[in-house]
């Protein structure tokens, strides 16, 4: 588990971007629980941490796709697929997440292959 920020740094209903093992992650606190998701909309790679958090839903800043921060499930178009979530623990006053370098997204490319 990688410590990424002090628990006290994030209030309830807030989210922020952190980086762990070269991977951009959105960490948020909702209803007293902390959640971590890939900070990249599954549709067009925008940073979800620049969007809007309402309850358990985060809204992408560019096209408005919504995701459930608990599961990463896609809740609205134009996204179709979920966002990856990462395990979170609270240790020694820190929010810690499990992210490996393999979670870094492949570069954008034009073709599907």
């Amino acid at each position: 588990m990688i410590p990424v920020l002090p628990i006290a740094a994030l209030g309830d209903g807030e989210m922020t971007r952190v980086s762990a093992n070269g991977v951009d992650v959105m960490v948020c606190q909702v209803a007293g629980q902390f959640y971590a998701l890939a900070d990249r909309c599954s549709h067009a790679r925008q940073a979800l941490s620049n969007g809007k958090l309402s309850g358990f839903e985060v809204r992408c800043p560019l096209h408005g796709a919504r995701f459930d921060v608990r599961t990463g499930a896609c809740k609205s178009p134009p996204a179709t697929f979920p966002v990856k979530t990462f395990p979170v623990t609270l240790e020694g006053g820190k929010v810690c997440i499990a992210v490996s370098a393999d979670d870094k997204p492949p570069p954008p490319r034009f073709g599907p292959i």
Partner: protein, 439 residues
């Protein structure tokens, strides 16, 4: 959005085998394109009667008709068409229907056979659709003459790596229909490319909604922002011809919508790697990347086993993107081709079939991989790649909007000239026997 730069062209128009000079823009006016053509069943029927059944259509990849007896069943609207290679090595096309009671004689997408035997009463047809056997023929008092009851044959021809057919018995020769296309595309030698992906996705939109989606780059900033680090979306040369059209999209260029053109992002690095150019070895910036990749390929392609000798410098990086009317869209690169074929639904103007095929040029001597198995699924069931998923995600909502009383019709920019040209070509077919309600 502000545009900060122009993109330089390096191709020599005199030496280029694929013509690369700008074609004069036609005056196609500024009218709204009526939305009813995307939603109306009457319009769909008119399209069928006056366009689909009059044009040449791409039916099969030639690699699927390699051996005598190979056949492919292709569907277009309500029709099913059989394409074959016969024992003389000739290609044939005929309707997939038994002359007796109307059963389909070929099933499955493809196969190899010496004859088509109808499963219902065992009437038999050869590879040209000619009736060769009728069981109990003596029980047809009116006769069951093999020479009169053959399946209706269709014009069939070959260009490039594809077999084409037409449902119009009086259609012009394929070469006349294709016009400038062979001159433009033969230098790519797409017949040397391997087919590496072959899927059909059921989309909830009209077939033209999909054609339109791929023939303008205006949507890149909105729909594909992740591409702007290595694709130009504004300084794009658009050329329209008699019925087909194209645009030339600079790749390996930072979008001129991005103020800092010097950046090199993950997308640009990936683009370099795809062409065997190590991004770590590149000491320049984003502004010089496209030219550097071109020079790298000009110097090293042969060593990499790739023959680009018939291509101009810009073709080494850029996407020469063609629409072959009515329903073939091509993203063509020096080492790959991505083909979209839009097929109308059998009866519903709000649905279509999107065929996606990817072809790749492999280094000389590399054995071609086994032909990928064709798969068909609905939108959203599988990813077809990040970029195409993004395009697809717009389409159902666009189609819903086409059906809205609140939508006035398509308000088209000069960046979308190819859409206007495509609809004008469609109108040319529909108006050959004008009917009142079209305007």
């Amino acid at each position: 959005m502000t545009v900060y730069r122009k993109i330089e062209r390096f191709a020599d128009p005199q030496a280029s085998k694929t013509p690369c000079e700008k074609a004069p823009d036609p005056d196609l006016g500024h009218d709204i394109i009526p939305k009813e053509r995307y939603t109306s069943k009457d319009f769909m029927q008119t399209e069928w009667d006056r366009m689909w059944t009059k044009v040449w259509l791409m039916g099969a990849w030639i690699g699927d008709l390699k051996h005598p007896g190979d056949y492919v069943v292709t569907k277009i609207g309500k029709e099913s068409i059989v394409l074959t290679k016969d024992e003389h090595g000739k290609y044939n096309a005929f309707y997939n229907v038994c002359s007796h009671r109307g059963n389909q004689v070929a099933y499955g997408a493809s196969g190899n056979t010496d004859r088509f035997r109808c499963a219902y009463h065992l009437w038999e047809y050869n590879l040209r659709g000619e009736l060769v056997n009728v069981p109990d023929a003596e029980t047809f008092p009116q006769g069951a003459p093999c020479d009169k009851l053959s399946i209706v044959k269709l014009p069939c021809d070959v260009w490039g790596a594809w077999v084409w057919f037409s449902m119009n018995p009086d259609v012009e020769p394929l070469s006349d229909f294709l016009g400038m296309i062979p001159e433009h595309l033969d230098p790519y030698h797409m017949d040397r490319m391997a087919l590496i992906n072959d899927v059909t996705v059921e989309w909830e939109c009209n077939w033209k909604t999909s054609v339109d989606a791929f023939n303008e780059t205006y949507h890149v900033a909105g729909t594909h922002p992740q591409l702007m680090g290595f694709i130009e979306d504004y300084d794009v040369q658009i050329d329209t011809y008699e019925r087909h059209n194209r645009y030339l999209i600079p790749f390996g260029a930072v979008s001129t919508h991005i103020e800092d053109g010097t950046i090199i992002d993950d997308g640009m690095r990936g683009f370099m790697q795809m062409h065997g150019f190590d991004p770590e070895s590149y000491k320049g910036d984003g502004l010089g990347a496209r030219r550097a990749v071109q020079k790298h390929l000009r110097e090293n392609a042969r060593k990499m086993g790739l023959d680009y000798s018939d291509l101009n410098d810009d073709q080494l990086t850029d996407d020469y993107h063609y629409l072959i009317f009515p329903n073939l869209t091509w993203n063509i690169h020096c080492n790959s081709a991505m083909l979209f074929r839009q097929r109308p639904h059998e009866s519903d103007p709000n649905k279509m079939y999107y065929d996606l095929q990817n072809y790749m040029l492999l280094p000389e001597g590399t054995p071609h991989p086994e032909r990928p198995q064709h798969r068909q699924f609905k939108h959203g069931e599988e990813s077809i790649g990040e970029v195409l998923d993004q395009d697809a995600s717009n389409l159902a909502m666009v189609q819903a909007g086409m059906n809205s009383s609140g939508f006035r019709g398509l308000w088209i920019s000069s960046q979308e000239l190819r859409i206007r040209h495509f609809h004008k070509t469609l109108d040319d077919y529909l108006h050959r026997n004008p009917i009142k309600w079209l305007k």
